[in-house]
């Protein structure tokens, strides 16, 4: 069996040809090893980095951009979005700070990608809770 894929690991977008029979998978068309890994994963269980936002308790920074530290199964994305939409960040976080340790049972953490402490001193009367 053969399948055509476009690698999404980088902007080059290599056109991959994946041949497989049973356990045996061969990948051609990739310009780097990441392409082969991507193609194999794509056949078994496509995984993606999820980027979105989380509501915060701060008026000057109402939404915090976040991303998964690593990829999660594509099929779990909507479940994860549901969990994320119920979160409220009550502490001023910085890029890399943990928002959730285990997003939707994937064991992949969710991290902050923006700096909520920036410009904080400019905001009068914003309560810092948490």
């Amino acid at each position: 069996m053969e399948k055509m894929l476009v690698c999404i690991q980088c902007p080059q977008g290599c056109k991959l040809v994946v041949s497989y029979s049973g356990e045996q998978v061969t990948v051609t068309g990739n310009k780097c090893p990441r392409g082969a890994g991507y193609a194999k994963q794509e056949l078994i269980n496509p995984c993606r980095t999820l980027t979105t936002t989380v509501k915060t308790a701060f008026v000057d920074f109402p939404l915090l951009p976040v991303r998964t530290l690593g990829e999660i199964p594509l099929k779990k994305v909507f479940g994860a979005m549901g969990e994320i939409s119920r979160l409220l960040v009550k502490k001023r976080l910085r890029p890399g700070d943990l928002v959730l340790e285990n997003l939707s049972g994937t064991h992949v953490p969710l991290i902050a990608t923006d700096d909520m402490t920036m410009g904080e001193q400019n905001v009068k009367g914003s309560e810092i809770c948490g």
Binding site: T53, A57, S85, L87, L88, V89, K90, K91, L98, L100
Partner: protein, 578 residues
């Protein structure tokens, strides 16, 4: 009597409109029956015009065509139930608002009813902002009288009300050198009409005055009394000054009928309740015939004439001094065909076109119309390219078949005044029309009571700071007093948060995105609101105490958002971290 009716019948027959039947009603003519197309309907109307009747009522049905749809605000309630006013003005366009301001000179309870969510929503904002010199208005018409007078009044109106008025002049260029022979006659005509100034220009003089003007011109005439304004700002200025002097402006208020007693209007039925009125002024624009009908005084029919206008980027504004036009003879239209003019806000605009349309509130644009404008006007200024167009829009003029203004007290309803059929040069004529209409209303009220001047009347509108007009020092002082003037929200037009907040809390408050735009231009620049829409929305929500999802672009129902994205389960519970 029967002779002119016969004339109309003959003309209809000549046009092949065999299913159209004319009859006389009071001093007017009524057309009934059927036509096959909108063009036939229009032809029938004009066939009946100019035959000596007071008005043309065109009730001809067009087969397969739906009746004009009218917007009615989706608001019901009794907010105005039982309120009594001396004068009720129907319509918040330039005429209605200017009349409200003129009536506020008197010690009267004045109300202006507007069915839209803001003043200046229809024809009064959807035009080219031209203050015509009066040359195009026909001799003997009301258009001519009011245009000449109105044009002269603009200088004072602008000074009192604080809107920008640029008497930039116009140059009407000639397509062929042969036409120069007619110019002395045009000069005499202008003199007879009372046009303030006219100069005949050679080809070289036109090029000197407007170096970027098309090389296809063969001289022309210069009309120094031509001016331009931002029409919506004129309307807002009149409305605000009226409110400052005690008038009430009721938005989202549509007139649904009149309560009549012995031929007089005693009540105005609206979606917000029944209002008692001493005198009623019909300034209802494209629906003025319908309003007249509520009082059984429908002696004219309004038909819509759509005009499309394209706006050119501000960067090109300095390439032209005044209005440029190059009329093409032999092209039959009901306007002189539009032109290319400064907007009074630094841009240029092209148009308008003139197309007869059955729908009076359909302001959609079409590719054909825009292409026509581009082919017709873009080349008048050699610096312009199609990519310089930042936006375009359309408006619908309220025309009668007699093509003249109707400005008079009703012949049949003693307390009703009509200001109807106001099309080009309606904006230019507005200050003069308002003066006369207000005087007519005062005369009506004087028959039943004493009317004294309003002792508190102040002709000068209070102006919020407009930062673009301040020197750097004044600007600095304004920011020190109110730091919100320091924060720029609309980057294309350099409009501050402070100016936007002022507009939201002005005498006729801006409650929507477009209403803000109409007052302070935020979102009107080259990015067309791409950058500032989110910020404007948040400021509007904050200042009006509404949720962002309630904020509209304009009318109710034009909400900008459908909701919020996140729904945390309240603070202190659920999944939140630390």
């Amino acid at each position: 009597m029967a002779k002119r009716l016969k004339l109309v019948a003959e003309e209809l027959a000549r046009l092949g409109l065999t299913a159209v039947y004319p009859r006389e009603w009071r001093r007017s003519i009524v057309l009934e029956g059927e036509a096959d197309s909108w063009q036939q309907y229009i032809d029938a109307g004009y066939a009946a015009a100019g035959k000596g009747y007071k008005g043309v009522v065109n009730d001809v049905r067009v087969r397969g065509l739906e009746a004009p749809r009218e917007y009615l605000p989706p608001v019901q309630g009794g907010a105005l139930e039982g309120i009594s006013y001396d004068a009720v003005i129907i319509g918040g366009g330039v005429i209605g608002c200017a009349v409200a301001r003129e009536l506020s000179r008197w010690d009267l309870r004045v109300a202006l009813l507007e069915k839209e969510d803001d003043v200046a929503k229809q024809t009064s904002s959807r035009n080219n902002g031209m203050i015509h010199p009066g040359l195009a208005a026909p001799t003997g018409s009301k258009k001519l009288i009011y245009n000449i007078r109105g044009n002269r009044m603009y200088t004072q109106a602008a000074a009192e009300l604080g809107f920008d008025f640029d008497r930039c002049g116009s140059v009407v260029m000639l397509e062929k050198s042969l036409y120069q022979l007619a110019l002395p006659i045009v000069r005499v005509k202008a003199l007879q009409k009372g046009v303030d100034g006219l100069d005949i220009l050679s080809r070289r003089q036109v090029a000197q005055r407007e170096p970027n003007a098309t090389s296809l011109q063969h001289g022309g005439i210069s009309l120094p009394s031509t001016g331009v304004v931002a029409p919506y700002k004129v309307v807002v200025a009149y409305a605000e000054n009226a409110v400052e002097n005690g008038a009430a402006v009721h938005l989202n208020t549509a007139v649904l009928g009149f309560e009549m007693e012995q031929g007089r209007i005693v009540g105005v039925r609206t979606n917000q309740g029944l209002i008692h009125a001493g005198a009623v002024i019909n300034a209802a624009g494209v629906w003025a015939d319908k309003i007249a009908g509520y009082a059984d005084d429908r002696f004219f029919t309004i038909h819509g004439r759509k005009g499309t206008i394209a706006i050119i980027d501000k960067a090109l504004g300095p390439t032209q001094k005044g209005v440029l036009a190059l009329p093409r003879l032999g092209v039959k239209t009901h306007t002189k065909g539009g032109g290319l003019n400064p907007t009074g806000e630094g841009n240029l605009l092209m148009g308008p076109t003139a197309i007869e349309v059955p729908q009076r509130e359909d302001w959609s644009t079409t590719a054909e119309e825009l292409e026509f404008i581009i082919s017709r006007h873009l080349g008048l200024n050699r610096q312009l390219r199609p990519r310089d167009i930042i936006t375009y829009f359309a408006g619908v003029r309220a025309c009668t078949f007699d093509e003249d203004f109707i400005i008079e007290p009703s012949e049949h309803v003693p307390n009703l005044v009509h200001a109807a059929g106001i099309q080009s040069p309606g904006l230019a004529s507005a200050p003069a029309i308002a003066q006369d209409v207000a005087a007519m209303a005062v005369e009506i009220l004087k028959t039943t009571r004493e009317v004294k001047p309003n002792p508190a009347f102040n002709p000068k509108r209070r102006l919020a700071p407009e930062l673009a007009k301040l020197s750097l020092e004044e600007r600095g002082e304004a920011i020190k007093k109110n730091p919100a003037y320091g924060q720029i929200v609309c980057r294309c037009e350099t409009i501050s948060a402070g100016e936007i907040i002022d507009a939201i809390h002005s005498p006729v408050p801006a409650a929507s995105l477009d209403a803000v735009k109409r007052r302070v231009r935020a979102g009107m620049g080259r990015c067309q609101g791409g950058f500032c829409t989110p910020a404007l929305l948040e400021i509007l929500a904050r200042e009006t105490g509404k949720a962002p999802s309630e904020i509209t672009k304009g009318r109710p129902g034009s909400q900008l958002l459908v909701g919020e994205t996140k729904t945390p389960q309240g603070e202190g519970s659920g999944h939140e971290r630390s």
